[in-house]
């Protein structure tokens, strides 16, 4: 009756275009540093151009993970921990990002009621296939797969 959350399977998401307005809007609210806000200042910075906050990338990646898992019948609820998150290169204006998700071992324990934990590896890629960020995480998955439908 329940669909197992496919250990050892790999899934790919749709892409999201990261335009300047989205980058600047996130940065203005949460990460107002010059290289995320202003093209001229960014050109002089370590990144060499206007680029998205790393936290923006992490949040967008999680949205893509959620949508992809739910549309494949895997009842993702939320990330509960991230053992490593690395930003390998900046994500510049108008790059298209997507995620590649590898599901790992299922564990029984989760701190969230009605869920179990599952290991998850996420590669965040741009349209050239370059990996811009990687995330090694633990996700809470609902024991009742119908919860996946609610959102």
């Amino acid at each position: 009756m329940t669909t197992p959350p496919f250990p050892n399977s790999t899934l790919c998401s749709d892409t999201i275009a990261l335009d300047k307005n989205a980058i600047v809007a996130f940065a203005a609210r949460f990460d107002p540093q010059p290289y995320h806000l202003d093209a001229d200042a960014a050109a002089q910075s370590i990144f060499g151009g206007l680029c998205a906050s790393g936290w923006h990338i992490a949040a967008l990646a999680t949205r893509l993970v959620s949508e992809t898992l739910l549309s494949n019948g895997i009842p993702f609820v939320q990330m509960t921990s991230v053992s490593q998150l690395k930003w390998h290169q900046p994500t510049f204006v108008n790059e298209q990002i997507s995620v590649r998700i590898a599901l790992g071992a299922i564990e029984e324990e989760s701190r969230i009621a009605g869920t179990h934990s599952q290991a998850i590896e996420v590669d965040v890629c741009n349209e050239d296939g370059a990996v811009v960020a990687t995330m090694t995480a633990t996700a809470a998955m609902a024991r009742d797969p119908k919860r996946a439908v609610a959102s």
Partner: protein
């Protein structure tokens, strides 16, 4: 000997063990819902009515809102006290985070207080001018419960060899 202000310091001037309580924030229902609508659109975070009758026992903030607010509080604090944010050159970019955990839900009306402690200075020189500062960052709610923690490696510019600039 000149006094070093926080905002004038280079990598070499930052001591392991330095600790800051750098900001606090009370989360509103509106910002929890708005963030979730864009980044984490699940009903536990976007729909107060649904969340009330759900396992979540009320609206909960997206975990990434909690970390995003860490960033905002850190930037605000650095603009006043720390080095380089306004000149766009000496400020450090984050490279990687480790051992990020969210322990408890954050709900509308909860107030988080964020802390930062330098725990290591890995012996590396990156692109000839940067060093790495590793810090442990934690957030506590109004009940003094730890709701989040992580370690982050942030670039800090090394003192130029020929410079008298402190």
């Amino acid at each position: 000997m000149t006094t070093l202000y926080l905002r004038d310091r280079w990598f070499e001037d930052l001591p392991v063990g330095e600790f800051h309580v750098f900001g606090s924030h009370t989360f509103s229902e509106l910002e929890i819902v708005e963030f979730a609508q864009t980044f984490d659109p699940r009903p536990e975070s976007t729909d107060p009515e649904y969340a009330r009758g759900n396992h979540s026992q009320g609206l909960v903030a997206s975990p990434w809102l909690i970390t995003a607010m860490w960033m905002r509080k850190m930037v605000d604090y650095m603009e006043v006290y720390a080095q380089g944010v306004n000149d766009g050159r000496r400020n450090g970019a984050g490279v990687a985070i480790n051992d990020l955990h969210w322990f408890e839900p954050v709900r509308p009306g909860h107030t988080l207080t964020y802390t930062y402690e330098i725990i290591a200075k890995p012996d590396r020189v990156i692109r000839e001018k940067w060093g790495l500062i590793r810090s442990r960052n934690e957030a506590f709610n109004q009940y003094s419960n730890k709701v989040m923690q992580f370690e982050i490696d942030i670039l800090a510019e090394r003192r130029p060899v020929t410079s008298n600039d402190a």
